[in-house]
Amino acid sequence: MGKQIDLLQGTLDMLILKAVSLGPLHGYGVLLRIQQISGEQLEIQQGSLYPALYRLEHQGLIASEWGESDNKRKARFYRLTAAGRRQLQSETEKWNRMASLIAGILSTTPEEI
C-alpha cells in the first residue's frame, strides 16, 4: 500500500511540474490542465493536489504569487523555477528510460530469449 502511494505521489509531482511548465497556473488550473492533457483519463483526488503543490514550493521547484483569475477572483498562481525545470527534465528522462525498459521487458516474446 505504502509503495503505491509513493509511486503515485512521485508521478503526481511530475505531472504538476509538467503542467506549470507550460505557463503559470492556479491550483484548479493545474487540475484542469492535467485532465486536459491526459484526455480526461486520469482521475486525481482534487484536494491531494495542494499538499503536492506546497511541497514542491517548499522544495523550491515551483514558485507562487497571488494574481487575478479569469473569473476576476484572487488566486494563487504557480510557475516553474529553474530548479524545477532541471528537475522536470531529469524526471522525464528517468521516466522515459524506465518506461522503455519496462516496455521492452513486457514485449519480450519467447523466441527472443
Partner: protein, 908 residues
Amino acid sequence: MSVLKRLRSWLTWMIKRPRLEREMETEVRFHIDSFAEDLIRSGVPEPEARRRARIEFGGIESHKDAVRASLGLRWWDELWADLRYALRMMRRNPGFTAVAVLSLALGVCANTTIFSAINALLFRRLPYQNNDRLVGLLNRSFSQRGIQGVSTGDLANWRKQNSVFDQIEVTSTFASKNVLVGPGGSERVGIQYLTPGLLGLLGVKPIVGRLLLNEDANPTNQGASNVVLSYTYWHRRYEDDPHILGKSFFMDTAMVTVVGVLQPGFDLWGTGDTDIYQPLSAEGAAAVDMTNRWLLAVARLKPGVKLEQAQSSMDVVARRLEQAYPDSNKDVGVKVQSLRETLFGWVGQILYPLFAAVAFVLLIACTNIANLMLSRASARRKEVGIRSALGASRFRLIRQMLTESVLLALLGGMLGLALSFWGTKAFVTLAPQWYPQAKEITMDGRVLAFTLAISILTGIAFGLAPALRASKTDLTDSLKEGGRSSSAGSRHRTRSIFVVVEVALALVLLVSAGLMMNTFLRVLHASPGFRTNRVLTLEFRLTGTKYLDVTPLDKTGFAVVTPQVEIFCRRVLEGIKALPGVDSVALIDWLPMSDRMDSPERGFTIAGRPPVLPGEKPNALFSAISLEYFRVMDIPLLRGRFPTEQDTESAPWVVVINDAMARKFWPNQDPIGQVLTLDTVPGEERPREVVGVVGNVKQFASRVDPNPEIYAPYQQQPKQSPSMFTETRLHKSLVVRTSSESKTLMDTVRKTVAEMDKQSPVFGINTVRNVVENSTTGERFYTQLLGSFAIVALLLAAIGIYGVISYSVVERSHEIGVRMALGAQSGQVLRLMLKEGLTLSALGVVIGLTASFAAVPLLSVFLYGVKPYDPLTWSLVSAFLMAVTLVATYLPGRRATQVDPMVALRHE
C-alpha cells in the same frame, strides 16, 4: 543549499503561520468555487454543483493537514498540542506535579551548584595570556609519590638546560607575612615573591605605574627593593590613591618603594591574601640556592610543543641534574602540568566525590518520579486505550508521554537553577577560608548548558520506562469498564524494583555522610595534646632595626637578632603575668595549629652517629619557647625535666623533644643525655643535650599525626639569623592561662602587649579552643555538604516508599476487603503492608551496603580516626534508613486497616 532553503521556508511558515492558514483557506475556497461554477456552466443545478464540488475535493481538513505535514509543520503542531495537554495534566494533578518538580529541583540544584564549583576552577579558562601554552613546574620524587616546590637553583638550571620552554619564571607558593610600617602605623601584609618576568608572562597589566623589572630585583641596599601592590590592597588601604607611586615604606627593616599597582582580579592562587608583590632575585651566585624548594615555576611552552614532549624532555634534564648535584637532586624529577592543573587540580579531589554524591541524589529523584509516573500510568490506562483505539501509533503515544516528562523535567530544572543561586551562595559561605577562588563560582554559559542537558536527560530517563510500559496497553483490556489489568502485577514489580534502587542509592550517600560526620566528630574531639580550655592566645611581630640589625647582611648574609628581642619578651611575660585573672603565661614561635609562616623543619646531626648524605639528614620541627610553655599548655613531661631558669644563653644549651621524636630517633634507647646539633647557623649553633621528653601535640591539624619536634629555650639561639628564619625569630605567639575567657580580659591582654611597642603589630587574639576548631573547617565543610545531600536523598527515598505503599493499599483494597470480610484483624492487615515495605527497604539496604563497599574508597582520603568500613557507622545508618522507611510504610499502611470491606468489595 537545498536543506538551507527548506529550513528557511520552514522558518518562514513557522513565523507566518496565520498567513499560511489564511492562504490555504482562500486557495481551497477558490478551487471549490471554480469547480462548482464549471459544473453549473455544464448544466448542473447550483446546490447540486456545490455539493459535488465539495465531495470531489475530499476532506478539506485532512488535505490542509497534509499541506502542513508537507511543510514540516505538523510535528510542531503535535508538539504544541502535546505540550498544552501536558500542562493541562499537570494542572489537574497538582500534588503529583509539585512532588515531581520539587524533588527534581532539589536534585538539579545540588548538581548545578557542584558543577558551578567544578566549572569555576577546573573548566574555565585561566585569565592569562597564552593560557594554552602555560604550564606549572614542580618537583616530584622519582621513586615515591609526593610533590615539592622548586628552588632558585632548579630555576637557574632549567633555564639553562631546557629546550622546550620560551620562558620560565617562579613565584612563592603562598603569601608570606611581613610588617609594613606606614604613616598610619604598622600592619601585617601578605607578600608574594616572584621573578619580575612572571607578570609579563601571564599578561598582567598595571593599572597604575609599571610592572616589576629585573633591576627591581637586585637587592642593593639591605634588601631594599621596588614592589607593586595588588589592586585589592591598594583599594582597601590607600583608597585608590594614584599618588602612591614612588612612596617608600619600611617593610620591617628594609625600604620598599611602590612602582605600580596591578590590574584588578589578578590573584594567582585565588586565596586573596597577597597584598604586595616583591621581586625575587634569581640571578647571580648569591641568589641561587639548590636546597630550599619553596617556589612554583610557571613556564610557557615553545609554539607547537606538547605537554608530553615537555615532560619527557624535562625528565632527561632532571636525570642529568641528578648526576651533577647528587646532594640536592637525588631522586628529584620534574612534574610538568597545565598551569590550571598545578594551581587548582588538587581541588578536584574534593569536588569530584561531591559530584558523584549529587549525581546519586538526582538519580534518586529520577527513580522517584519514574515511580510516580508508573502509578499514574495505571490511572491513565483508559486514556491511552482511547488514544490508540483512535489510531495513535505506539511511537506517537511514547512521544506524547515523553513530552510530558521532559516538560516536567524542564520545570524542575528551571526551579533547580533558581535554587542553585542560593545553593552556590551556601557553598561559598560554607567553604573553608583556604578554598581558592570561591567568589568566582558563578553561572556562565557552560553551567546553563549543563543544567539544561541534565534536565532534558532526566526527563527522558524517568519518562522512558513509564512511557514504554503505558504504551503497551492492551486495548480491550483497558477499555473494559473497571477492568483489572493483567499487567498490574508486573507494573507493581517495576515500582518495587525502583524503590529498592532508591533505598540502595540513598544508603550509599548515608554511609558516606555518616563516615564524614564520624570523622568530623573525631577531629573535633580529638585531643590536640594540649590544653584548650581557658587559654588565650595572641601573636605579635617585633618590627624594626631595634630588633633586627641588618647592617651585617651584605657582608655575612646574616642579619643579627638584637638582645632587645629577649628583653621585650621578658617584659611581655612579666606584664601579662601581673594582670588580674591571669594564671600563667608563656611564649612560643608559632602556636600549634595556627598558620605557621616559615618552613618549620630544621635538619640536625646526632652526636656519635655515622655521618649521612646531605639528602638523608634527619630533621624535625623546631620551636623556641619560654620556660612556662609546657605548664601553661598542660603538655605532660614523660621523662627528664623541663627547661629551667638555669638554662640561660651562657649555660650549656639544652632541648626538650616530643615523644614522636624519641620513638623515631631513639627507639630502644633513653634519649635523655643524647646530644644533637641543629643546622641553623654554622659556628654559632652549639651542641644541645636532650634533657626531657614531653607528650606529643598536633602541630598542624587534628587529623595530622604529630611529627617529631624539638623545643629549645628561646634564649639559647644563635644571634645571627639566615633570612629564611627571620620571620620566626621575630614572631611570637603568646599563650595565657586565665580564670575566664572574658572579652574584656582578651582586650586587656591585647592592649597591654600593643602598648609595649607601638611599631610592632599585635594580631590574632583568640582562644586556643577557637584556633583548634578552625583547623577542622575542611571536615566541617565536607560533612555539611555530604550531610545535606544525604538528607535530601533520604527524604526522596522515603517519599518513594510512601508512594509505592500508598498505591499498593489502593490496588489491594479489594484483597484487603476480602481478607477483612473473612475475619482478618486490622493488626494483621497492617503487618501485611509493613512487611511489603520492609522487604523492599531491606533489599535496598543489602544492595546499598554492597554498593557502598565500592564507593567508600573514594572518601578514604577525607576520613580520620574511622575506617571506611566502620561497622558502627554502617549499621547505624542502615538502622536509621530502615526506621525512616518503616515510618514511610506505616503512614499509608494504616490506611489499609481503615478499608471498609463492604465498600472495597462493592468497588469491584
